[in-house]
Symmetry: D4
Subunit: 254 residues, 8 copies
C-alpha cells in the first residue's frame, strides 16, 4: 500500500465497509512503523500519515548514528533530511551516499525524494538582511527536498523599499512565499500586502537588546495587518520551508 491508497481506505471506512479497528489494522499491516537505530526510534510510518519521512535533528548525534538512520530510511525506500548537521556528519554521509547534498550555510544534508518528472510547486524564500541567510537556506533546502522549485531572494528588507518593489515580479506568482526576517520583522507584512499567495513568516533572533532573541519579530508577524501571513517558530527555517512545501505540493497533486 502506498500513500495513494489512503483515500480509498478512508472511503471504505466512511461507507462502513471498514471499522475504525480494521482501518487501523490495515494501516499497521502495510508499514513497518519503527526502526531502532542505536537506541533512537525512527518513525518509518510518518510517510503514510504525513506524506514525508521523519526529518532528523542532527545536533548531538554522532556521524554514525546519522548514517544508520539514512540507511534505515533507504531500506524502507524513503528519502532523508538532516537539519543542524555538522561537517563531520556530512563527510560520513556523502562518502556513503554520493547523491546526498550538503549545504554548510544551511547546516543540512538531504537525499532526494523520487521525483521522475515535474516539480511540486514553486516557492520563493525572501530575506530582510544578510544575517538572516542561514535560516533562509534551511528553508530553501527543506523545500527542495520536498520537490519544490525554490528561488532565494536576499536583502530586500524595508530599509531599502525600492529593492522589494523592483523585484516583485520574481515572487508575484508563487504557490507560497517564505519570508525570513529579524530586527522588527516588518517584511512579511509588506510582502503580504503585494501578493495573493500564502506567506509563511519565519522570525530570526538577529538584532539588538529589545529584539529579545526573536520575540519582537515573532510578535510583529503574529499581529500582521496582512491577512495572508502565518508564523512558525523563531529561527525555524526548516518549519518555514516544510510548511510552504506542503502548500505548494497541493497544486501539483490536484
Amino acid at each position: 500500500m502506498n500513500h495513494n491508497d489512503l483515500p480509498a481506505l478512508l472511503e471504505q471506512w466512511r461507507s462502513g465497509q471498514l471499522t475504525v479497528a480494521d482501518f487501523d489494522a490495515a494501516m499497521r499491516e502495510h508499514y513497518a512503523t519503527t526502526a531502532v537505530v542505536d537506541g533512537a526510534l525512527i518513525d518509518l510510518d510518518r510517510v503514510r500519515r504525513c506524506g514525508f519521512p521523519e526529518v532528523v535533528y542532527g545536533a548531538g548525534k554522532s556521524p554514525d548514528q546519522v548514517l544508520q538512520i539514512f540507511m534505515a530510511q533507504e531500506q524502507a525506500g524513503q528519502a532523508s533530511l538532516v537539519t543542524r548537521a555538522t561537517n563531520e556528519q556530512a563527510d560520513v554521509i556523502t562518502s556513503r551516499f554520493p547523491d546526498a547534498v550538503h549545504n554548510a550555510v544551511a547546516r543540512t544534508i538531504r537525499r532526494g525524494l523520487a521525483q521522475p518528472s515535474g516539480s511540486s510547486g514553486r516557492i520563493a524564500v525572501l530575506t530582510a538582511g544578510s544575517t538572516d541567510r542561514p535560516v533562509a537556506e534551511e528553508a530553501v533546502e527543506t523545500a527542495r527536498w520536498m520537490g519544490c522549485d525554490v528561488r532565494l531572494i536576499t536583502d530586500v528588507g524595508v530599509a531599502g523599499p525600492q529593492r522589494l518593489i523592483d523585484r516583485r515580479h520574481e515572487f508575484a506568482d508563487m504557490d507560497a512565499v517564505v519570508v525570513v526576517a529579524g530586527m522588527e520583522g516588518a517584511l512579511p507584512s509588506v510582502v503580504g500586502g503585494w501578493i495573493d499567495c500564502p506567506v509563511v513568516g519565519v522570525p530570526t533572533s538577529v538584532g539588538y537588546g529589545a529584539q529579545l532573541q526573536g520575540l519582537a519579530p515573532l510578535l510583529s508577524m503574529l499581529n500582521s495587518c496582512a491577512a495572508n501571513v502565518c508564523v512558525v517558530n523563531i529561527d525555524s527555517g526548516f518549519k518555514g520551508g516544510y510548511f510552504a512545501g506542503l502548500i505548494a505540493r497541493r497544486r501539483v497533486s490536484s
Copy 2:
C-alpha cells in the same frame, strides 16, 4: 483587466517588454484603488494584489458605515465580509442585501463571491472544547466566503483522545485543517501527527490564570513537534480561516 491578467503582465515585465514603472501604471489604470466611505478608506485594489476584497472589522463602526462599505464594494463588483459584526449591523445589511449571511455566534456578515461551479477546495475546522466555538465559527464563515467547502468538527480535545481517533476520516483528506484550541493548545500538534495537509493553529484566550489570555496555547502551537503546523494570532478565527482558504484555493486553481 481582471485578476487573471496579472500573469501576462508579469511576464511582459520579466521579458523586458514592460518597465517597472509601466507595470505600475498599467496596474493603476485598470483599478479605482480606493473608495472613501464616511471618512474611512476602502482598498478596492486589494482584489488585484491579494485575490480577495478588503475585509471589514465591524467593531466600532455604525450600521450605516458598514452598509455604505457593502454598497461601495458591490458597485466595484466585489464581495463583502464583516467580522466582529453587531446584530444592529446585521439587521441593516440583511434588509438591504437579502442574500447576505449573518452568523451571530461567529459575529460575521458575508455576501458571497461569484462562484458559478465547483468549490475552492475543502477545509476542516476543529475545536478542542465548546468555548472555542465562536472563534471556530468565524474561521468557518471566512473560508465559506472564499468559496471553500468547510466542515466543522467540535469537541475533539485531547482529554478525550478516542473522539479524535474515531473521527479521523472526517478530516484526513482535506486541503487544509484549522485547529482552534485554548487551554494548553495541544490539539494542533496531535492533529498534525495524524494527517499530511497543512494545519493552521488558532490559539484562544479560553482558560484559567496561567493561560495568560491565550499566550500558553500560542507558545504551545509555535513549538509544535509536528512540522505541518503554523500559527496565527490569538482568537483570530478570521485569519485562520483566511489562511486555510488561500491554501485550499490552490488545488482548484491549478
Copy 3:
C-alpha cells in the same frame, strides 16, 4: 528675563562671570516658579527650562480645576494645553476662553502660544489604520499648539502599500514625521526607509491577543531597521507630537 536671555546667562557662567549659585539665583529671581491651584502645583518655571509651559493631564480633574490652571497660566503670560480632556472641561474652558480649541476625538483643549508670524516648522502625522486616529489627533493638536504646520495623513498602513507610495510627496520634505500604528507597528520602519527626516513612532494598543496592549508594535518600532526611527510610549500621541514639535522648531529658530 525671557527665554532668549538664557544663552547670555549661560555664557556668563561659562566665562566665570557667574558662579553656579549666582546663575541659579538669577533664574529664580525672574520667575514665579510655582502656582498652587486647588492643591495641585503648576510649574510656571517650565517655560524657562524647557521652552514650553507645563501641559495638563485632564483625566481625574474637575472642570473648575482645569479652568483655574488656564487662568494661572494666562496670568503668567503662558499658553495652555490639556490632554485626556472631557467634554465637561471643554464646555467650561471654551465659555471662559472663546479662543480655546477643543478637539473631541483627540480629547484635547488648547489655547495658543503667541506666534506673530510664520510657523515653527512642518510636521506630518501618519496613521496605519482608522482606529489609530484618536492617538494621531492628539499628536496633531499638540504640535499645532507648539506653532507647527501639521498635515494629517490617514490609513496608509502596509496592507495597502501603494497608498503610501502614491502619497510620498505629501510627507517627503517635512521637518519631522510622526507615525502612529497599532497591530504589528511596521509603518514607521517603512516610512523611515523612504525619507530623510526624523521619524517618531507612536505604538498604539489596537489589535488582537498577541498584540499585548501595544507591546508588539512598541518592540517592532524599537527594533526598526531604519536608523531614523525613535519611539515614545504606547498611545502617547501627546509625546509623539511634542517631540516632533521640538525637532521642527529647530529649523525656525536658527
Copy 4:
C-alpha cells in the same frame, strides 16, 4: 524511635497526652538533627519529618565533600542520593561504596534504601523525544532509590501518535506516571486523557526560540485540559521522580 512511631506520637498529642512542646521535645530527643560536613549542614532529621533522607545537589561540591556526606548518612543509617553528580564524584563514591549506583546520563549516584521484600509501587517514566532522556533518567533513578519499580518508555511524543497508543498497556495500570517533554509539552495532556492515575509533568528546556528555555511546555502542562496532570519545575527530573515516588509508596504502605 523510627518513622513508624510518628502516628502514635501524633495520636498522643491529639488526645492531650502530649503538649505541642512535649511533642517537639520527643522529636528532637530521638534524632541527631544535623551533621556538619565541611561547612555544609546535612539535615539528618529529614527522614523523620519527610520520610526520606536529604538529597544532595552535587554541582559545585568536591568529590570529598560528597563522600563525607555519604559517610555521615551511612553512620545515621540513612541512604544517599546525589543529583547533578560529576564523574569525579562517582569515582570516589563507588570505590568507597561499591554498592552505589552511578548513572552518567542521569548524572546521579545513589545508594539504596533498605528494602528487604517487595517494592514501593510502580511508576512509568515517559519521554516525548530523545533529547528529553537525561531528565527522564534522573526521574527514574530517584524513584528507584525510593524503592519503586520503574519502567522507562522513550520517544512516544505526539508527532507519532500511534506509538503511544500501541504502548498504552505498558503504562495503563501504574501507581503514577511521570511525563518528560520539551517542545510544546503536549504529551502529559495526551497521556492524562488515556489513564486514571496521577500524571506528573516535567517540562524540559529542549526546543527552538519561542520555547523560552522550557516556559512554553511549563505553561502548556499547567493549562492541561486533563485533570490528572500536575507540574514540577523545568528540567527537574529529580522532583518528578520524587513526587511520583511519594504517590506510589502510598499503595505499599497501606
Copy 5:
C-alpha cells in the same frame, strides 16, 4: 464491563491474547462513549479511561443544559460535578436532584459517587489567608465528590508561623495535602518541610500589583525547595482537589 475489568483486558493484550485493535474494540463495545446534550458532547467514556466521570465547567451554560448533563450522567450510572456553578443552576439541579450538594462559596454542585462503605483516603486543604477560601472550598468539594475524607484548615499563612506549628497534628498523617495560597505563595514550601506526604500547591490570584494575578505564587511553588510539592494552575481549586483525590484513592484501592 466495569472499571475493575481493565487490568484483565490489559493482561490479555500484554500476553498476546488480544491485539491492540481487539482491545480497543472491546473497550468501545462496553461503553456508550458520548452523549450529546444541547449541542455539547459529554464524554461518558471517561470513567473507563480515567476513573471518574467528566466534570462540567458551569460558566456560560444555561441551567437547563446543566440539568440535561446531570440526567445523561445519571442514566449512565455516573456521578456529576459542576464547577463555577451559578445559583440559578443550583436551584434547578437541587429541585430535580434533592441529593445534590450546592456550595455557594465554592461555586460547585455535586452529586455523589456510590461509596457504600469506608472512604477513599484522607486529605487536608490548607489556606494561607481568608481571601483564598473560595478556591480552597472548590478543592474540598471536588475531593469529597471523589469519596475522600477532607479537612479544611484556614488562615495558617506564614505571617503567623505559630499557627501552623500548633496545628501540625491536624495534617501530619494525611494521604495528600492541598495548600492554597496567594500573595508570595510560601505556604506550600513551609508545609512541605514538615510532612512526608505529597503536597499539591494551588496558587491564587490574591494580592497587590507585583503578584501579577497569581504568577508570583505560581513561580514560588514551582521553585519550592521542598521536594514533595507539585503545582496546578492559578485559582484551580478543582484541579488541586482532583489531583489530591487521585493520590488519596490509591491507599484505599490497594
Copy 6:
C-alpha cells in the same frame, strides 16, 4: 542629480508636471542603486532617500568585505561608517584609507563626509556611569561622521546629583542631547527636566539581575515624565547618535 534636487522633483510631482511613475523613473535614472560586494548588497541609493549612506554592521564580516564596501562607497562619492568593527578590520581599512578614523572603544571606523566649512549642529552625549562609555562613544562617532560638533560628558548619573547640576552649562544650549544610561535609566528624565531641546535616551544592558539586560532602563525612559525624551533600542549608541544627528542637522540646513 544630487540630494538637493529632490525638493524640485517633489514640487513637479505635486503640481502635476510629473506622474508618480515618472517621478520614480527619474529617481532610478540618476542613481546606481545597489552595489554587490562579495554577495552582500550595498544600498547606494540610500543617500538620495535618507540623506546619508548605508552604515555597515561590521560583526561577522571579513576585513576584506569591509574594505570592498568602503571602496564601492568611495567610487560612488559616498562616506563610510562601520559599527561593531574589529581591530583587524580597522588595520586593513586605515592602511588603505589613511584618513579613516578608528575608535577602539566605540568599535567604529568612519571616513568623513565632505564638510568644507561649519558643522551640522551641536550635540552633547551624556553617560550615567563609566560602564556606559562604549555605547556613548558609538553615539559620538556616529554624530561626528554626520558632521556634528559633539561633546562627551561622562559620569553624571543621579547618584551624584550635584555633578549634573554643576555642568548644566555644558549641555544647556545644544541642538540635541543623547543620554546613555543603564541601571535604572533615570538620567534622561532628569536631564529632560533641565533643558529645552530633544533628548534621545539610549538604555544600556549594564546592571544586576532585575535590570533584565536593559529592559529596566528601556521601560524607564519610555515612561519618562519629561515630555522631551524619546527612546532607541538597548545598547544602540549608533541609533542614538544618528537620530540626534538628524535633529541637529536641521538647524544648519535651514
Copy 7:
C-alpha cells in the same frame, strides 16, 4: 509579659536556663494568640512577635466584621488599622470609636497606639505627581498609627527638578523617607542621591501603556544606582509606611 520582656527571655534561652521548648511555652502562656471573628482569625500574638498588632485588609469585609475586629483588638489592649477601608466601614467604626481616624483619600481607619510622650521618629513621604497621592496618604496614615511624626511633600517629580532641590531641607534629616512614584519611578534614585537615610520606594501603577501597571517604576527602583533605596510592592503605601515606621522607631527605642 509584655513586649519588653522578650529580651530577658531570649537571654535565658541563650544562657541555657530555658530550652527552646520552655521558651515557646512561656511565649504561649502569656498571650491569647488568636481571636475568632465571624469566621476570620485575628492574630493577637503579632504584637509579641512583631511589635505591632495585625493590620486588617478592609476590602471584601462587612462593616460589622471590621467592627468586631476592632473590638477584639481593643479587648486585648491593642490598636487597630484598616487599609482599603470603605466609607461604610468608616461610618460604623467612628460612631462606635469616636477617637478613630478615617482618611478617605488613603482609604484607612486607624485607632492609635498608646504613646504617652514623644514620638517614634520622623518620616517624610514624597510624591512625584498628584495621582500618586492616595498611595502616599496610605503610607502617611500607617506611619502615624505607628507613632511617627510624618511630613507629606507632594509634586516634586523630576520633570521639575528645582522643586526637589529647593525643598531638600524639609526631608534632609529624617529617620526614613518614603518615595511614592509612578511613570518611570526615577524619584527615589534622585532623592537617594541627596540624603543619607534609608529610602523606601513605593512604585505606583500610574502611567501610559509601557508602564505595565507599575512594573516599569518597580524595576526602576530595584535597579537604583543609589545604594540607600529599597523597594516594596506596587501601590503598597501601607508597606512603605510600615517599613519606614519600623526604621524610624529604632532611634526612639535606643
Copy 8:
C-alpha cells in the same frame, strides 16, 4: 565641616539665615567633590550627602585603577570598599594597605571606617542554602565596613523548618536582618513572621528553570505577607548589607 555640621546648616536654611544658594555654596566650599582617577570620576562628596564614601564596583577595573581610588579616598580621609573584586586587585591593595580586608568568597576588599569605640548596631545575615553564601558574604562585609556588628547564620531554609526555629534567639533582637534566598525565596516571609525588626530580602539567581535567574524569589519577596519585608535587587548582597547598615546605624547615632 564634617558630617555632623549638616543639621546646623539645614537649620540656618530653614530659619532663613541661609538661602538655598548660600547653602549649596557652603556645601561646595568645604568639600573637594570629585577626584579623577585614570579617567574615572570618584565622588568624594558622597560622604557629606549620603554618610558613606562611594563604593567601587571592581569588575572590569585594573588593579592599578583600584589602588589609585583607594589612595585618593585615603587622601580625603575616607574609607574604601570594592565589590566584585578580583584576587589580582586584592594582592595589589593588601600589599600597599596591610589593614585592608579581602574576602574571596564575597569578592570584596574593604578598608575600615574610623570607629574608635562601640559599633553601629547589630545585624544578622541569614541564608536559605549554601549556594546563597557568596551573596550573603558580600552583605556581611559591607555591613562590617559600615561599622556594624554582624552575625552570619547559614542554611536555615524552609525545607528544614526546625533549624530556623531553634536558632531564633540568634536573630530575634537585631537592629536589622538581611535574608538571602534563591529558589522560591520564602525565607524572608517566614523570618518576618517571627521578629519585629526590618527585614531586607535579597533574592539570588540560584535555582532551576522557572526560577528565571532570580525573578521568582524577587516576586516572592515583593509579595511577602509579612509587612516588615522590603527588597533589593537580585544577587545584590552589597545593597542588602548597605541598607541594613543604614538602619542599624540609626540606633547608635541617636
